[in-house]
């Protein structure tokens, strides 16, 4: 894992220059590691326990989609996550080079109707405030997730920075 100064790709208003970039193998067992990283970054952002759970769910489901639908469980492939902690939000960009895949969310599930796929995508949409999918000029898939922080969380973060805890 690499913590580095900001790049133009993730720049924006209120950028604190706190960027963490991770490259991870496309294997389901890596999800535990990713969840632990997401939790730490949520803590760093001053998020509440519930918000951290939502962040973990969104990142977990987005990564799972890359592993399952994008790379079809090919563990030799890799994908990248860029966490950008900004003044009022946390942005997470997931980037992979699989075939473009944009599953649509479903509204609800019940015990009688078949599972049509898209449950994970629905969870992503409900867990974060913004979800944007795009394809870069070089052909990579980019999924951008945004979780906005309230004043309370920003103060929590300032307290974490001040005390070093």
């Amino acid at each position: 894992m690499e913590k580095k100064s900001n790049t133009s790709r993730t720049s924006g208003k209120g950028n604190l220059g706190e960027v963490i970039e991770i490259k991870i193998s496309s294997h389901p067992k890596m999800m535990r590691v990713l969840r632990a990283v997401s939790e730490e970054i949520g803590n760093l952002a001053g998020m509440s326990e519930e918000q951290i759970i939502h962040l973990q769910i969104a990142i977990d489901e987005a990564s799972t989609n890359i592993i399952r639908h994008g790379y079809k469980f090919d563990a030799t492939k890799e994908f990248k996550l860029i966490f950008n902690l900004m003044e009022d939000r946390l942005e997470v960009v997931l980037e992979d080079n699989a075939r473009p895949f944009k599953p649509e969310p479903v509204e609800t599930f019940d015990s009688d109707k078949p599972i049509q796929g898209g449950l994970g995508v629905s969870l992503i949409h409900r867990a974060v405030d913004e979800v944007n999918y795009s394809v870069t000029r070089s052909g990579s898939n980019q999924l951008r997730l945004v979780k906005y922080l309230t004043g309370k969380e920003v103060r929590n973060r300032e307290s974490i920075v001040a005390t070093g805890e």
């Binding site: 389901p28 999800m31 535990r32 519930e50 769910i57 592993i67 609800t108 599930f109 449950l119 969870l123």
Partner: protein
């Protein structure tokens, strides 16, 4: 993920899951749950007390098991959910689809009361 079974009595079986219930581990739980459905076990309590995290693969497994048990009139109850596992069920808007009890004792009591 560890998956183990306990027979409470002739009609109630408890399945204890331990670890994360996700894309990596859900096939193991799925196999056991569908086998119980195949045997037409009257009531299955899924003890999630030691499950730290559940993703959409875990939820899909639970939905599949619920459907399989509904077909023969079997009951499936979830117990021992923590904040993380409960939150993912709430986000999926499935808290009314599953019967959820706080702990195993209450789940057993619920199954027994409905059997009367």
């Amino acid at each position: 993920m560890k998956v183990s079974l306990r027979r409470v009595n002739d009609s109630i079986t408890v399945i204890d899951l331990e670890g994360d219930f996700d894309l990596y581990s859900s096939p193991k739980a799925r196999e056991t749950l569908l086998q119980l459905a195949k045997e037409k076990v009257p009531a299955v309590i899924i003890n999630l007390e030691k499950v730290g995290y559940m993703d959409s693969s875990g939820i899909a497994t639970l939905i599949e098991a619920l459907r399989a048990m509904n077909k023969y009139g079997g009951k499936m109850v979830l117990s021992g959910l923590n904040m993380k596992t409960m939150e993912v069920i709430k986000l999926a808007r499935l808290e009314k689809i599953f019967e959820i009890q706080e702990n195993e004792e209450q789940a057993i009591a619920s199954v027994k009361s409905q059997a009367r």
